[in-house]
């Protein structure tokens, strides 16, 4: 048996969800985001084409709905405003159209536009919610940097030192130029190295100061550094017997 025809298509039975029991309305009401949401719900539940809303039916359902809700809720003004709008649209559709304003837009058009836009946004909201969200669906690595509390120390580079040296030298040159002389760096470096090695020790064998495998140049520089240390009276070089072991000791360790 054909119950109804929608767009020329035969409907054989009533949609199951066409009727909403009144006591269910209150529960459902809280889930609606507003009158547009409620209208969309009613339209979709009726499986109706949003473009071809049957205003009489929709308005009746909507009014039933807010009537029930009104008894138990303080109803938001937006719902009443929507009710007024629906009734206005319905009444305009009932009026016979004089020929001269036939071209007038369907009174439902604006409502349909808003419903479609709202439905799009509703879907967009669900799509947004479905996106992976930092903190909810994935986490971010954040290994703490342990040293952040440490005060930052000034950084320098070798060029800073050279500039500082030049500044010292040029100043000294003005005062007393002959006191400054250029020395072979590596001899100075080895002097410091030898002193460090001697530190805390009674004496070190002369040959131990020469590291095997470091090459002739290093041997010579080490030897020169030793001579310089002796000249500056920073180390003593001792040989007890002829051809005996030569010992080197720091003079501060007496």
């Amino acid at each position: 048996m054909i119950v109804a025809k929608i767009h020329g298509e035969a409907i054989l039975e009533l949609p199951q969800d066409l009727y909403i029991p009144p006591e269910a309305l209150e529960v459902v009401l809280d889930t609606f985001e507003g009158p547009l949401d409620l209208l969309l719900y009613l339209i979709r539940k009726h499986n109706l084409d949003i473009l071809d809303i049957r205003m009489a039916e929709l308005t009746r359902q909507y009014l039933d709905y807010i009537d029930v809700a009104k008894q138990r809720h303080e109803l938001a003004a937006e719902y009443l405003l929507m009710a007024a709008l629906l009734i206005e649209i319905k009444s305009r559709m009932l009026l016979p159209k004089p020929a001269e304003i036939e071209a007038e837009e369907d009174p439902r058009a604006e409502l349909v536009r808003r419903l479609l836009e709202y439905e799009k946004i509703k879907q967009a909201a669900l799509m947004l919610d479905a996106l992976d969200q930092a903190g909810r669906d994935f986490l971010l690595p954040g290994i703490p940097r342990d040293w952040l509390d440490m005060p930052e120390l000034p950084g320098i580079d070798p060029e800073d030192l050279r500039q500082a040296w030049i500044s010292v030298v040029s100043r000294v040159k003005m005062i007393n130029p002959h006191k400054v002389e250029l020395e072979e760096l590596s001899i100075r470096e080895h002097m410091a190295r030898i002193l460090k090695k001697l530190q805390g020790l009674d004496a070190v064998e002369f040959v131990e100061l020469f590291e095997a495998g470091t090459g002739l140049a290093i041997f010579i520089v080490t030897f020169l550094a030793l001579l310089e240390l002796a000249r500056e009276n920073l180390v003593s070089i001792v040989q007890a017997d002829v051809f005996g072991t030569i010992y080197v000791k720091a003079n501060n360790e007496f």
Binding site: E33, L36, R114, I121, A125, L126, M127, R136
Partner: protein, 184 residues
């Protein structure tokens, strides 16, 4: 510095910040010694290196960052059972309007949703740095214009607003219109 060492530095920087790091910022790690194109190569090396792990290197709106893969969440949730609350439909709709229709005023949002927008919802997204006021519409009252931030894109793992899922037409309306159009 050799490139293995440099790659380790880039990896460490990315693992120690929750914020994404841009190429320009990554170049700062090396005081300009390594050019951005070379750093881009390192990033793609790192992406391969991490392919079989629980994190992945991704490019989002404000730069590069690691994130956990979705399949890890099941386990990680057991470690930290408190989950951030889900947003209400009202909040999500408001966010969707700002994201898809930006810049919008509060009035625009109310027009689309058909109900008043609670100040709380806007404040909540503002405090999460997901939306911000980007200007004022030149009408009486000069209402604020809201737009989404790059933090919003980062948190949703997108590099631009065009990565948002496309809006769907929900009705035959447009099909019909198309037919009508082609008929005329």
């Amino acid at each position: 510095m050799n490139s293995d060492k440099a790659r380790i530095v880039v990896e460490t920087a990315l693992l120690t910040t929750e914020e994404p790091i841009s190429l320009v910022e990554l170049a700062r790690l090396f005081d300009g010694e390594i050019a951005p194109p070379e750093i881009e190569n390192m990033l793609s090396d790192l992406r391969c290196k991490w392919a079989d792990s629980g994190l992945e290197l991704v490019e989002v709106s404000s730069g590069w960052r690691f994130r956990t893969k979705p399949e890890m969440q099941k386990f990680l949730d057991r470690l930290n059972p408190k989950k951030p609350p889900r947003y209400s439909m009202a909040a999500l709709e408001t966010l969707a309007i700002i994201a898809y229709r930006q810049p919008v005023t509060r009035g625009d949002i109310e027009d689309i949703r058909g109900v008043a927008v609670s100040t709380q919802i806007l404040k909540m997204f503002e405090s999460r740095c997901w939306i911000e006021v980007v200007g004022h519409r030149d009408v009486p009252g000069r209402p604020s214009l809201y737009a989404t931030t790059s933090r919003f894109l980062d948190d949703l793992n997108m590099s631009s607003i065009s990565d948002l899922p496309p809006l769907q037409n929900t009705n035959s309306l447009f099909e019909q219109q198309d037919n009508n159009d082609s008929g005329t």
